[in-house]
Structures are given as C-alpha cells and as structure tokens.
C-alpha cells in the first residue's frame, strides 16, 4: 500500500513578491545550517571512533548552529506572519476597532523587538572586546551578530505585516517610535506601564516572545540593570550543550511526519488496538504517546498526527473540541515514557543513574496514559464500534512500518553502544529518519520536499527557541531580584510536613510549567528542588517523576505551553481556544500527578525490584 503524504504546511517556495530571491536565499541558508548540525556530530563520531581524533570544537559549532537556526528561523516565521501568538481578543472587537487594535499590538511588538536588537548590539559589542574565538580563528562575535540582525529583521517584518498600505505601516512605525521614546524618557519608571502595555498588546495578538521579552526588558530596566542581560540569556540558552537535541529530534520528527510514517503507524495501531471499545480514542492516545516518546518532540506529534487522527475521531462523531483536546494532551504523555529525552536530562542534572530513572517512569507513564484513555473513551459517542482486524493485516501493517518502528533501536542503541553522546544520538536519529523516508520509502523527494521540510522545521524551531530564550530572560530576573531564593528560604522555614511540601511543590511546578519550557525548567529548577526535597526525605528519583509529570501539564498551560502552540498551528485555532479544549485532560492528568505524588511506590517499586 503506497501512501501519499499530504504536506503539513506548504512552506513558502513560490517565486512571487519583490523579494522572492532574498526570501528563497534565506530559506536555503536556514536549511544548510540545519543540515550542518546533523552532519557535524556524525562526522565527529566517525573521526573519533576510527581515527581517535575529532573536529576542533565540534560541539561548540553545533551549539552556535542552534543560535543561527533560532534567529534565522524566527525571522522567517516573522516574514510569514507565523510567530506564535496568544490573544484572540482582537477578533472579538467591533469591526472598526480591529485594524487599530492590530496596529497597536504590532507597534508594541515592534518597539520590543527594536529594543532587543539594540540590547543585542550592546551585548555583541562587549563580547567583541572579550575577543573569544569560535573555532578555526573565527571570532565568536561573528556568530553572535546574528542576534541584533535577527531582532532588527523581526521588527521590520512585524511593521510590514501590520497593515496593507504604506500609510498604515507608517502609522505603526510612528507609534512604535513614540513608545520607544516614552520608554527612554521613563527610565526606571518604565516597569509598571511597560508591563501593562505588553500584556494588553499580547491580548490583542502580539507574539508570545514579545510578552516574555517585553516583560523582562521592563523589569530589568526598573532595577537599573543592563538590558544586554536579556540577549545574554537568550545566547546562554541557545548554546546550552543539551539544546541541539531539540532541533535535531524535531527535524527527525518532521521527516517522519512529512513522509508516510503517520499513515503506516496509524495502520499498525488500528490493527493492534482497533477492536476495543472507544478504539478511536484509544488509538489516538496510544499513538500520540508513542510518537512523542521516540522522537522526543511532542509538538511534532501534533503536527504529524493531528491531520490523520482528526478524521479518525470525526468518523466516530467525536466532538471536534474534545478531539483537539485529546490529541494535544496525548502528545505530552511521551515525556514520561522511556526512553524520552526529559527523563535522561533530569537524570543527568539531578545526578541519578539513567536506568533507575527510566525504570521509575514506567508505571507512572502507564497510569497517566490509562487515565487519559479512560477520559477519551468516556467522551466517545457510545454506539460507535471498533474495527475487526485479522492477523494477516496486523503482520502486514507491522512489516510495512518496520523501519519506523525500529527508530527507538537507532536512538538508544547508539547511546547504549558507548559510541555516541545524547546530542549525537539526536543527529543520528535525524539522519536515519531522512534516510528511510527519502531512500527506503521514497515518500519524500530530495529536491522537491526535503528543502521545504527543512525550512518549515527551521521556522518552527526558530519561533520556539526565541520564546525559550525570552523565558530564560524573564527567569533570570526572578533569580537576579532573588525572588527564587526568597521562595526557597520561605519553603524551608515555613513548611514542616512533607505532605504539605509535596502539595506546595506541585503548585509551584504547575506555575513553572506555565512559564517555562520543559528543557530549561529541568536545567533551572532541578538543582533548586532536589536539595529541598532531600531535606523533606523525598527520593530524588521520585521527585524527578513528580517534576516531569507536572511538566506534562506545563505543555498544556498558557502562556508557555508548547502543545498549545503546535495545536494552534495545526488546527488553525487561537491558542486560547485550544487551551479551553484541553481543560478536561488537564483535570484528569492533574489527578494523575497527585496519584504519582502521594504514592511513591508507583515510581520506586520497579527500581527497587530490579536492585534486589
């Protein structure tokens, strides 16, 4: 059975508009940097294992690839008008107010982007004086210069898209310039009006990065601290050694998603689970959970499977909003399913054995998956019955998808063999996914599809990395103003019961999950909570499972909820509407988090069993 994959997005490849040559050139550079990020670690593996040498600063080069992909991808997203945004308030306004509202939101976003460009310029100037080298005699600041350029380009593109006529655009630019001048004049008094303005613009549809970046700018300015701290945080995030795994796994997921993998996998899952009651919901939950656990990127699951699972659910007259909720929430389950990347990252940061962490996650992941399946079955219209599938079809389905079902072996076989690092595993997985979809299944054409898929992946990753960097800037303010430290001190002095502590911990983690992405949360929050947890007698392994279970909720809560963003993209709904659609799932998974929290044996039983 030959499947015809439908593109998730028709990424721009048209030769229209005044600037099309420049735009296509931009797309090519983005794809080339992504390609280099895949190849560089793989060349490094070869050189290391065959010749016992390596590329000078290979890891550093890949990390700066993330910086480039992040800024360039975000600039492309701005060009296409696809920077992630929260608010849908503008569309609820009376018609004559809609255009001014949009222009106001654009003006605030433009002022913030321009301020970030200016702050980045200051950061790069200081770094240039520092005189560090990237590799092969190339100064570090050359790579860092992509930040002021990127923010400036984003500011320009926000202005371009703010109106149809030159006059409308001029009004936006004038308004942005006015805001800039006001902010300069206000000095350290900028904080309160700045925060209000930024929130208001967000509600009217300004991009998410602007909310976090604008808030961080206002807060840093209020304390008389250098604004260059925000680009520095963005830089610090993008060059984090663990971060390249995100674009690389996303790229792997994109090759699979745009190839025929979703069709082949859905066939396998329907053959295996189709006969059960509520089978459409069961297949949805299991498939999204599985897809996320082996690509490591929950968002790609939504993009890849959303378009296939929605018709499946619609076929049994599943309510549309409940269907969106189920797909969006199911895609976060993979976080706890071994061998998911967050489990490994937590084990590393909390200094726990990786295998213990993976074992501990098995039963909690099953509990969370079961709970969501029960919700799904309950909401599925009763009279719909499942498919009947014979054994021959099951075997044929598994055989057809065997190369894709083998991906976990590639990903974790590499790690277990002692030949590769986690980042290199991600590169290996991306290359494998590319190879099977282009060469073995021939679902993607090297010339027609691959550049389009890579540009699309870069656009998406860029938009997200921009948000993550701005979120880190915001978090840095909390650290700088010693708010996090005061909270930690307060916890240790005012809470005595471990039960109360665990409840408070869940509330705090819910808040963390609301504002931070899972990877920076693991990096920033783990070192903070592990010692406090130990003081209350909580096993770091159990604490990790509680933490990651909360992060599953964080995928589904605004303002920084990755799955909400992806689902908003995929289903063409405002983020706010998707957020309402996942509320029932959030309640059910919240109950799961409490179960995991107050029943330590669920996490610790398997590791203890194996230890004895």
């Amino acid at each position: 059975m030959k499947t015809t994959p439908t593109p998730i997005y028709d990424a721009p490849s048209e030769r229209t508009g005044h600037w099309w040559r420049l735009h296509r050139g931009e797309d090519v550079v983005l794809s080339l940097v992504l390609g280099a990020m895949v190849l560089l670690p793989l060349i490094e593996i070869l050189l290391r294992s065959m010749l016992s040498v390596g590329i000078a600063n290979a890891a550093t080069l890949v990390q700066h690839g993330v910086l480039m992909v992040g800024m360039l991808g975000a600039a492309v997203a701005a060009r296409e008008g696809r920077l992630l945004a929260m608010g849908g308030l503008a569309s609820a306004l009376p018609a004559p107010l809609q255009r001014p509202a949009r222009m106001f939101a654009a003006a605030v976003a433009m002022a913030v982007s321009a301020t970030l460009a200016d702050a980045s310029l200051a950061f790069v100037a200081v770094e240039r004086e520092g005189g560090n080298l990237l590799a092969y005699g190339v100064p570090l600041w050359w790579a860092q210069a992509v930040m002021p350029l990127g923010f400036a380009l984003i500011a320009v593109r926000i202005a371009v898209r703010s109106g149809e006529t030159p006059r409308a655009r001029f009004v936006t630019v004038a308004l942005a310039a006015g805001l800039w001048l006001l902010a300069q004049a206000a000095g350290s008094g900028v904080t309160t009006p700045g925060l209000i303005l930024v929130l208001f613009a967000a509600a009217l549809g300004a991009p998410v990065f602007m909310v976090l970046g604008g808030a961080a700018l206002a807060l840093f300015a209020g304390d008389g601290l250098p604004l260059a701290a925000i680009p520095l945080n963005h830089y610090q995030l993008t060059v984090n050694p663990s971060l390249p795994a995100i674009p690389l796994f996303t790229l792997a997921g994109y090759f699979l998603a745009e190839g025929g993998a979703p069709n082949r996998l859905i066939r396998v899952f329907r053959a295996l689970f189709g006969r059960f009651r509520g089978s459409a919901a069961v297949v949805t939950v299991l498939l999204t959970a599985f897809f996320t656990s082996f690509t490591g990127a929950s968002g790609v699951t939504i993009l890849a499977l959303g378009g296939l699972l929605m018709p499946l659910l619609a076929g049994v007259r599943y309510p549309e909003r409940a269907g969106i909720g189920l797909i969006t929430s199911g895609s976060s389950l993979g976080v706890l399913i071994p061998p998911a990347l967050p489990l490994i990252l937590y084990a590393i940061i909390a200094r726990q054995p990786i295998e213990t962490m993976l074992l501990a996650a098995v039963l909690p992941a099953m509990a969370m998956t079961t709970l969501l399946m029960l919700l799904g079955i309950w909401r599925q219209p009763k009279e719909a019955c499942g498919d009947r599938v014979d054994r021959g079809e099951t075997l044929a389905a598994v055989n057809a998808a065997k190369w894709e079902l083998a991906i976990p072996l590639v990903t974790f076989g590499g790690l277990a063999s002692g030949l590769v690092t986690p980042t290199e595993t991600a590169a290996l997985t991306a290359l494998y996914a590319f190879f099977i979809e282009v060469v073995i299944y021939r679902d993607l054409s090297l010339r027609r599809d691959v550049p389009r898929v890579m540009t699309e992946c870069g656009l998406l990753v860029g938009g997200i990395i921009l948000i993550l960097g701005m979120a880190l800037g915001f978090t840095n303010y909390l650290i700088d103003a010693q708010i996090t430290e005061q909270v930690s001190d307060w916890v240790q002095s005012s809470i005595t019961s471990p039960w109360v502590f665990l409840l408070a911990l869940n509330l705090v983690l819910l808040l963390v999950g609301a504002f931070m992405d899972i990877f920076s949360a693991i990096i920033v929050v783990t070192p903070l909570i592990v010692p406090i947890g130990k003081a209350f007698g909580i096993d770091p392994v159990h604490l990790g499972i509680i933490f990651l279970a909360n992060m599953e909720l964080g995928f589904l809560t605004p303002p920084v909820g990755m799955n909400l963003f992806f689902a908003s993209y995929r289903f063409g709904k405002p983020v706010g509407e998707v957020a309402r659609a996942v509320l029932p799932a959030l309640a059910v998974l919240g109950a799961g988090v409490l179960l995991i929290t107050y029943w330590p044996a669920l996490s610790l039983f398997l590791p203890r069993l194996v230890a004895h």
Binding site: G54, F123, N132, P226, A229, P241, S242, I348, R351
Partner: protein, 316 residues
C-alpha cells in the same frame, strides 16, 4: 573623598549556598560594607544561579554582575594565560611549590587582569586533578588503551593528551556521567571534590594516587566597581579578601582528603604509587614539555615557572 556614593557589589559563584566559600564571602562582604559606608550592599549569587563560569564573566562584561569567585574555567575567559599553571602536567609536586611560584608570578598575572579591566582580590585553589577510571591503571602506558575525557571548552587539554599518546574524547561536562556509564569514555581527569559531587566514582571506581595538575581559582571584581569604591572600602576589601583566600586555600587542601575518604566509603579503590612509579610518570610527562613550551604555554611563562621551581627546590 570621605563620602563616596553607595556601591552595590554583585558577585557570582558556583559554590553552594552555606558552603565554606559562601560563608567567607559573606564575612568579607560585611567587613567591606562597614568600611564603604551607608547604602552600600553586597549580593552573592551561589550555586551557579547566574549561569556557569563563562556566563558569570559575560555578565561581568555587560555590567549585570561586578565580580565573581572563579576557577580557571572562568578566569581564562578574561585572561587566557592564567591556565598556564594547569597546562603543565606533573610540573608541581605539592601545594608549597604551587604557592611559591604563584606568589612570584602574581604581580605580572594581576597586571594582565588589571589591563583587561579586572582587579584580582585573592587567589584560591580547587584541588589537584587526579585520574578516575573504569579499570585500574598504574603505569603511564596503561592509560593508552583507554578513552580519556577532555572538556570541549579546553582544546589545549586535548593537545596534551594527544601528545602523551592518549585517546582524548572531547565532550561537554554534562555528558561525562552517561559517557562513563556507556563506555564512551574510560577515564576522567577531575579533582576529587568534583568527582565526589558528580558521582564519577560510581562508574569509574579507580583513582590513581597522582597529583596531575593543580586547579587554581581567584576572586575578582571589575575595575569599574573597584574604582567606584572609597579608598577605605578598597583597603578593607583587599584585606578581607586576602583572609578569605587563606581560609579557602586551607579548606581546599582538607577537601581533597575528605572527598577521597567519602568516595572510599562508597567503594572507590585508590591505586597507590611507589616512588619508582612516580618517577616513571614524571619522566613520561616531561617528555612532552617541549611540545607545551611555546605552543600551549607562552615560552617566557614556561621558562619563568621552571626557573622559580628550580629556585624553590634548590633552597630546600
């Protein structure tokens, strides 16, 4: 001037909260605050809250922080030549030698820092680098079959390992533990204190009892912050920092033994060295000094260190 403007000092360190390092910094801050006068204050960000050491230096450059307690990892970001001391394996035999050479070289190193915009307040140590390995190893040749960790941010360590005939694998520090577990690397050169904190002794339970190279650190502030202080504030800070440095150095020396003892309790096996073996190691390391001099360490710095060492040894 008698009435200087209030100064806010913001220092970053990787040292944990309430550790000895944190406590002596707080003590120093209190003494300085009194001398500097009303409205002045000091904030210490512990546990790497403001990022790793290179991030701390970047934050000093933009003015978000104005000082830090740094190891060579951060100091080399300011002035690369500072890593010379630990780029010469088995050059020093004990702390007394390190102290002697450092005292002699201080004026010239501190001048370099001053020219780059930083004032070095005091020097500290973070211990000796030792080899932690998956299998026991005694002779220099025993390590040739093993893959050795080198930090991705320190290419010259890679050069040294290659020159010795070893198989270096360049990784990020966050990769060390999983890489040891899977066999991607077999040996990690690390200070016992760091090895204990990062639990290297689990997958790499053998430690060779050989002090490979010293890891040094320093307390620095930006010249901008320094120049804003009153003369009384400057003097008090220098004195308080010197006494803080003494306490930290004394502590680092105890820490090495304490960390080793703690790891032995958890199953670490120490591979002892006879004087003959130690001599074999020193000959082995000396074999690559010509490759280090003039390439990895400036020739004049290398000669200076050698001269001071000869001077110290002849006096004893």
């Amino acid at each position: 001037s008698a009435h200087a403007d209030p100064v806010k000092l913001r220092l970053g360190t990787l040292a944990p909260k309430n550790s000895l390092y944190h406590r002596v910094l707080l003590e120093m801050g209190d003494a300085w605050k009194k001398a500097q006068g009303d409205g002045s204050g000091i904030t210490i960000f512990t546990d790497g809250a403001q990022g790793g050491e290179t991030d701390t230096v970047k934050r000093m450059r933009i003015g978000q922080l104005n000082g830090g307690l740094l190891s060579v990892v951060g100091l080399r970001e300011i002035e690369p030549s500072v890593s010379a001391l630990q780029t010469m394996p088995l050059m020093f035999r004990n702390w007394d030698e390190v102290d002697y050479v450092r005292e002699k070289m201080r004026p010239s190193i501190e001048k370099k820092f001053y020219d780059k915009g930083y004032v070095v307040l005091s020097w500290g140590d973070a211990g000796w680098v030792r080899f932690f390995s998956r299998e026991a190893a005694t002779h220099p040749a025993d390590f040739k079959a093993m893959k050795m960790f080198t930090w991705a941010g320190e290419p010259e360590q890679m050069e040294i390992m290659k020159a010795l005939g070893y198989q270096p694998v360049s990784l990020e520090t966050s990769d060390i533990l999983p890489a040891l577990q899977t066999g991607l690397i077999d040996v990690v050169p690390a200070t016992p204190y760091y090895a204990l904190a990062a639990q290297f002794n689990g997958p790499a339970p053998h430690m060779l009892d050989l002090d490979w190279a010293p890891i040094v650190g320093a307390l620095v502030v930006t010249r901008k912050a320094w120049d804003a202080m009153s003369p009384a504030g400057q003097n008090t800070l220098r004195e308080a920092a010197a006494s803080a440095g003494d306490k930290m150095r004394a502590n680092a020396r105890i820490e090495v033994d304490e960390a080793v003892a703690a790891m032995i309790k958890r199953g670490l096996k120490v591979t002892p060295l006879t004087p003959e073996l130690e001599a074999e190691w020193r000959r082995f390391a000396a074999g690559i000094y010509p490759q280090i001099r003039g390439k990895l360490v400036p020739a004049d710095t290398f000669d200076e260190v050698s001269r001071f060492l000869a001077e110290y040894r002849s006096r004893k």
